[in-house]
Structures are given as structure tokens and as C-alpha cells.
């Protein structure tokens, strides 16, 4: 293998693709891959390989791998497990990367491990590197390839490595709708040859990736994985969702220390030592990736001091508790801010202190433009690390408000004040919907507007709190390690 970077170009930006397992009937993973890839506007050659079909998905089919006009950068393989090793072994150096989608290897009790070992030997004998088996595929919007038709194809900064295929669909679809944009998403399955460590090294080097997310279950080369992360010194944030952390240790321990060790403690240790951000749920992972995609970590002043601004008194009080539980502070307003807000003679019920409870009646002043003045005063006068603006949408989208766009004005106010405070205060928007389809549609629209302007949008305040706490941990790591103190 040459250097990792040039090496993986053929995988992420292939010019020629061979597909095994697509049929004229147009069903199955391999057909999906061709359709999804064509939908993204792939401009290279796709060669369906089929023993007797002449055309699949409108593409000329070839009977065998050696019959294709050009060598293969990337082979997508979704045929019966037993047939695959012989095909790979005979590739004769004409394939750079093979991704084996098929199941029936190491995850099977009977003989699967032996077949998987044979698969790896065959891949190496044929001169290629192997992804999978037992996975879904690779999404690379820059290379216009996808295995999932529900992707937007927009190139972004987030690189994903996953040992679960199903979770990659969640990340692609739900994450995509939340505004997460990917450089690549890799479903790696059993990781028989290329490992999460290999791909982690790639994403750390890849200039197009600035945030890395991993879903992991079993790491075979844990030592190397740790060493790579340690050497990287958290130069890119790595978010880790680890499955199986509650499993009991597999070996009998003699010492006290041995009895206390376990997967959960080891992954916590890894995160603390490497600045990786360990999350517990898919939801947290999406929130964490989103905030890291948009906000530039401030290593000089790790996030601590937060202002909460929005409508919903109880919501603000509960959020204050939650932020505190996550080690974040919602400090009292300074006398100066208090006096300034008081002088504005806002409607009764407005809190002039943090959390700034601004009822809908207050936020409707000047059709919502009052929010811009308030936010500017607070951000300029207070020493804040993050401003969290939360809007309970239905209050501004009832039929009586049809003639004015208070909600839109609120979002735009937040965006404008955020632009003035870039590099000083993180800005986060929480758009709270009641799930009503019309409100959801408006939320989707405004969320995309905010995301384009660099403001991450969360569904609820707890999501924002946990994501900001993760960002804070990352900033702390950089802060402590940078000075070596």
C-alpha cells in the first residue's frame, strides 16, 4: 500500500465500479447501490457483473470481472458468501477495494469464521483491500457514490465509521435532515481486513473531514486504536458511540484492580486521555456531530457560562437545572445588563435576569425585532461562552399572526447577533415544535436557514445542553494539553 491518503482515493472517489449481485428484477442491495449512485450523478463507469444478463439498471453488464473494459477502483459485492473468495482471489490486481455486503461470514456460528479468514486471504491474493463483510456500503458525496437512496449528496465535514450498517442509515437520513453533512459514511461490518483504526487514520489525515464520528462494537486492534487517537492529540474532534459497554469482563480477575476493570471504564479512560467525546445514544451522537460541525471549539476559554433566552418560564428554569447538572453555569445578569433591559420598559412578565424569560408577548414587540436589541445587549455586556436562544414555535405561528412573521424575525435576529459575536460567543438555537405538520414544515425551513448561517439548531434544550457539555469537554482537553499544564 502507498500512503493512506492517495491509497483511499480509489475508495472514496472511484472512476470505475464493479457491482456483483444486481439483477434485472431491480431489487436488492446491489440494485439500490447502482440506483442511489446514479441518482447522485456519478460520472465514472459502473460495470454490473452478471453470469447471463446483458443489461442491468440500464448499464451494460459483464459476465466476469476480467471482462470489464478497465480495472476496478471499487467493487460492491452482494452475492452468496461462499462464491466470493474465488472471485476475489482471481482478480489479479485489477481491483483496488472490494466491499463485501453479504452476510454469512464471521458473524455466523457454523464455519463463518473460517470462510471470513478465507475471504481475507483471497482479497489479498487478488491484490485488493477489503471492507466488510456483512455491511451496507460506502457513502461518499464527493465521489458521488451511495448505497442509500435517501441521501442528499451534499458534501460536508463529518466522516463516519460504523460497525453497524443500520445505524449508518439513521445517521444519513435523520442526521441529514438535522443538517449534518458528510465527507463520507463507511459501513464496515465485521472489519475482517480494513479496520476502524485504518479509517480513523484516513479521516484524521483527510483535509475534507473536520469532525469524525464512530459507532463501534468490537475493536480488534485496541492498542493501535488508542495510539492513533493519542498521537492525534484531538486535532479533530472524534465522537464515539460504543455499543456493549455494560458487558462484564470476559476473564476472571485475581486482583482488586482486575475485578473493577470493565469495558465502560476503559472507554471512559480512552475518551479522557485522547479528548474523544463518548456519547450514549444515537440522538446524542447526532447532536454532538451537529454542534461540532458548526461551532469552532474555543481552546482558550472552554465553554462554561451560558445565557438562556426565550419564551417559556418553566422551560428556562428546567433548562437551568439541566445545564448545571452538566457542569455548565447560567450566571445572574450583571447590574448593567439588568438596568439596560429595565430601561427598555418591556411588557410585564419579562425576566431581566438569566435565564432571560421573554414571554411571547415580549418577543412580539416590533414584530420580533426587539429580540435583536435584547440579544445584542446581553452578548455585549455579559461575559458569555454560549448564548442559547429557545423559541416555542406555536406561540408565534397561530392564525392571528398570519400578517406578520414574528418567528422568522426571531430566527433572523439570532443569526445577525451571532454574526457580530463570532469567535467570542457560541450561538445555539433551539426550535421547539409541538409536532403539528405545519409547524414542523416551518421548523425545517428555518432550521436550514440557520444552519446555512452557521447556527446549529436543536429540537429541545436538553439536547443543546448535552451537546454543549461535550463541546466543553473537548475544549477543556485542548486547553489542558496545549500548555502541558
Amino acid at each position: 500500500m502507498t500512503s493512506p491518503h492517495t491509497c483511499f482515493d480509489a475508495l472514496f472517489r472511484p472512476n470505475t465500479i464493479a457491482v456483483f449481485g444486481a439483477s434485472t428484477a431491480g431489487r436488492g442491495f446491489a440494485n439500490d447501490f447502482i440506483q442511489a449512485t446514479l441518482k447522485l450523478g456519478f460520472t465514472g463507469e459502473i460495470y454490473p457483473i452478471h453470469p447471463n444478463a446483458t443489461e442491468i439498471e440500464g448499464l451494460k453488464a459483464y459476465p466476469t470481472l476480467d471482462a470489464t473494459p478497465s480495472p476496478i477502483d471499487y467493487a460492491f459485492i452482494g452475492i452468496g458468501a461462499r462464491h466470493i473468495p474465488a472471485i476475489l482471489a482471481a482478480a489479479n490486481g485489477r481491483v483496488k477495494f472490494a466491499q463485501v455486503i453479504s452476510s454469512g461470514f464471521g458473524e455466523m456460528a457454523d464455519g463463518g469464521k473460517a470462510l471470513e479468514a478465507e475471504l481475507v486471504r483471497a482479497a489479498h491474493a487478488g491484490g485488493m483491500r477489503l471492507l466488510g463483510p456483512n455491511c451496507l456500503g460506502t457513502y461518499s458525496p464527493g465521489g458521488r457514490i451511495s448505497y442509500d437512496r435517501g441521501t442528499d449528496g451534499i458534501v460536508g465535514p463529518v466522516g463516519i465509521i460504523s460497525q453497524s450498517g443500520g445505524l449508518t442509515r439513521d445517521l444519513l437520513r435523520r442526521g441529514g435532515r438535522r443538517g449534518i453533512r458528510y465527507s463520507a459514511v463507511l459501513s464496515m461490518g465485521n472489519c475482517a481486513d480494513l479496520s476502524p483504526s485504518d479509517m480513523l487514520e484516513h479521516f484524521l489525515d483527510d483535509p475534507g473531514t473536520t469532525v469524525i464520528g464512530m459507532y463501534l462494537e468490537h475493536i480488534r486492534d485496541g492498542r493501535r486504536f488508542f495510539e492513533i487517537l493519542r498521537a492525534a492529540k484531538a486535532r479533530k474532534p472524534v465522537v464515539v458511540l460504543k455499543g456493549g459497554r455494560t458487558q462484564e469482563g470476559s476473564r476472571a480477575a485475581v486482583s482488586h484492580t482486575g475485578a473493577l476493570a470493565g469495558d465502560d471504564r476503559m472507554w471512559t479512560a480512552l475518551a479522557r486521555q485522547t479528548g474523544s467525546i463518548l456519547v450514549d445514544t444515537l440522538e446524542q451522537m447526532l447532536d454532538q456531530l451537529l454542534i461540532l460541525q458548526h461551532l469552532t471549539p474555543n481552546a482558550d476559554k472552554p465553554t462554561h457560562s451560558i445565557a438562556l433566552f426565550g419564551n417559556g418560564g418553566g422551560t428556562g428554569v428546567l433548562a437551568t437545572d439541566l445545564f448545571a447538572r452538566n457542569g455548565l453555569s447560567v450566571p445572574r445578569a450583571s447590574d448593567r445588563t439588568f438596568a439596560t433591559l429595565k430601561a427598555m420598559e418591556l411588557p410585564p412578565g419579562t425576566s431581566l435576569d438569566n435565564p432571560y424569560d421573554t414571554p411571547s408577548g415580549t418577543l412580539k414587540v416590533e414584530d420580533g425585532l426587539v429580540a435583536e436589541t435584547l440579544l445584542r445587549e446581553i452578548v455585549e455586556n455579559e461575559s458569555l461562552d454560549a448564548m442559547v436562544v429557545h423559541i416555542n414555535m406555536p406561540q408565534f405561528l397561530n392564525p392571528n399572526d398570519r400578517d406578520r412573521d414574528v418567528f422568522g424575525n426571531l430566527v433572523r435576529a439570532a443569526i445577525r447577533v451571532r454574526e457580530e459575536s463570532v469567535g467570542k460567543t457560541h450561538f445555539v438555537l433551539v426550535l421547539r415544535s409541538d409536532g403539528e405538520p405545519e409547524i414542523e414544515a416551518r421548523k425545517f425551513e428555518e432550521r436550514n436557514r440557520a444552519l446555512e448561517m452557521g447556527v446549529p439548531v436543536f429540537d429541545e434544550l436538553p439536547n443543546a445542553a448535552v451537546a454543549l457539555a461535550g463541546l466543553r469537554d473537548y475544549e477543556h482537553y485542548l486547553n489542558r494539553r496545549r500548555g502541558g499544564t
Binding site: 484492580t257 476503559m266 480512552l270
Partner: protein
């Protein structure tokens, strides 16, 4: 260190599952962890001239090739003020060992560590990440509350300080409840001696399976390993 490596290999070759306590402490000492001054005697009546160099109070401990917890079989006596007290204690240990059918090789007589807070430092080989170390407070904090922190080796000084700060009972080390604060620097040094880049564990990871320093007694000025167990890796059939 080559001589330590040879000692570990020799113990492993002789079929031991753990190093004798005196040897374990010599190993720790070679890596910079303070241990009590001590001597090993063969019989209770040897507790005369041979311990004349040691300062009371003394501790007397069972020396046995069997890897049991000494205190569980009455194999530890502490706060012994005189050589006569040591003699009596050794006799009691011998009787207790006989009652438990434990082989007796002799007695380890040590100076007692200066009073301080008991902490635990340990090491294990994790299935996934390899050598890793642990820190916690002694007694119920480790055993009942499981209030411990782990790090994968090697650790650096920042890791060591974070390990100490991370346990829930960290305030006790800073002098809570009227006690003087203990030397954090001494704990950091012990953690690095065990789990650092040039520490004991990484240097001999293929020979050591688990380590317990329990307790490491930390005073305001230093830390002493009052008890230590080094469990050896099982010898490979091909390794001879």
C-alpha cells in the same frame, strides 16, 4: 530494566503465580516507588539482631508461595512495638498458616509506613487496550463504592492528575474533615512509576498480568507502598 525482567522470568519459570511480597516491593522500589525498610526471617526467634536496623513500630507478614490474600488467613500483624512482640506475632502467623494448611516460607518484618491516607494503585491487562492502571481510595471506597478511575498506559502527568481528581472522594485527599492534605505529587509520581512511558507496567507487560498496590499510604510529604501484589502472566507452553 534487565535485572527486573530476569527476576520476573525466574519467578514465572519456578511456577509462581505471583511474586513474593518482598520481591514485588523490590521491583516497585527499582521503579521509584517507596517501600518500607524490611527484612525476611526464617523463624520467629530470628526477630532479634536481624531486625535491629529497623525502626519500630513493625509489621510482620506471612511469606508463602501460595497467592492468597494474607490478611484473610491471619497472615498480617501490625503495630508491633518490640522485637519480642514481633517474635510473638510471627508465632501466631505460623500457627494460623498451619491451621489454614498454607505453606510457610518465613516472615517479612517491615517498618510501618508513616500514618497517612490509604490509596490503591493497580494495573491490569485489558482485553482490548492492553496495560491499564487504576487509582482509588483504600478500604470501602474501592471495595464497596467502586470509586476508582482508570487510564490506558502510558499515562502522562496530566492523566495522573486527572485520575486523582476524577474520583468522587477526591476531596478527602485535599484535607477534608480536619485531616492534613496528602502529597498529590507523591501519588502522581507513583502512578507514573507504574503506568508512565518508562514505567514498570509497560516495561514488563508481557510478564505481568495484574498489579495491586493496596494500600499505598500517602502522607503530607510522601507515599509508601505498604502492601503490593504482582500477579504473573501464566507461562506459555513454548516459553522455556
Amino acid at each position: 530494566m534487565a535485572d527486573i525482567d530476569a527476576q520476573l522470568r525466574e519467578a514465572q519459570r519456578s511456577g509462581r503465580t505471583a511474586l513474593p511480597e518482598a520481591t514485588a516491593k523490590a521491583v516497585l522500589s527499582a521503579y521509584g516507588i517507596a517501600v518500607p525498610r524490611s527484612t525476611t526471617i526464617a523463624a520467629p526467634d530470628d526477630a532479634g539482631d536481624s531486625i535491629a536496623d529497623l525502626q519500630p513500630p513493625f509489621a510482620a507478614k506471612l511469606v508463602s508461595p501460595e497467592a492468597t490474600h494474607k490478611s484473610d488467613v491471619g497472615g498480617v500483624r501490625i503495630d508491633l512495638a518490640t522485637p519480642q512482640a514481633v517474635r510473638n506475632a510471627c508465632q501466631e502467623i505460623a500457627d494460623s498458616a498451619a491451621a489454614h494448611s498454607i505453606a510457610l516460607e518465613g516472615f517479612l518484618v517491615e517498618e510501618m509506613a508513616p500514618p497517612g491516607t490509604e490509596v490503591v494503585i493497580g494495573g491490569i491487562i485489558d482485553d482490548c487496550f492492553g496495560p491499564a492502571i487504576m487509582f482509588g481510595l483504600g478500604g470501602i471506597f474501592v471495595e464497596l463504592l467502586e470509586d476508582v478511575s482508570f487510564r490506558i498506559c502510558p499515562i502522562d502527568e496530566i492523566d495522573a492528575r486527572e485520575m486523582i481528581g476524577e474520583i468522587r472522594a477526591a476531596a478527602l485527599l485535599k484535607g477534608a474533615r480536619g485531616r492534613p492534605p496528602v502529597s498529590e505529587a507523591a501519588i502522581v509520581q507513583a502512578l507514573l512509576s507504574l503506568g508512565g512511558e518508562n514505567g514498570l507496567f509497560l516495561a514488563h507487560a508481557e510478564l505481568i498480568r495484574e498489579i495491586d498496590i493496596n494500600p499505598l499510604i500517602v502522607s503530607p510529604t510522601g507515599a509508601v507502598a505498604a502492601d503490593a501484589r504482582i500477579i504473573l502472566t501464566e507461562r506459555q507452553a513454548t516459553d522455556d
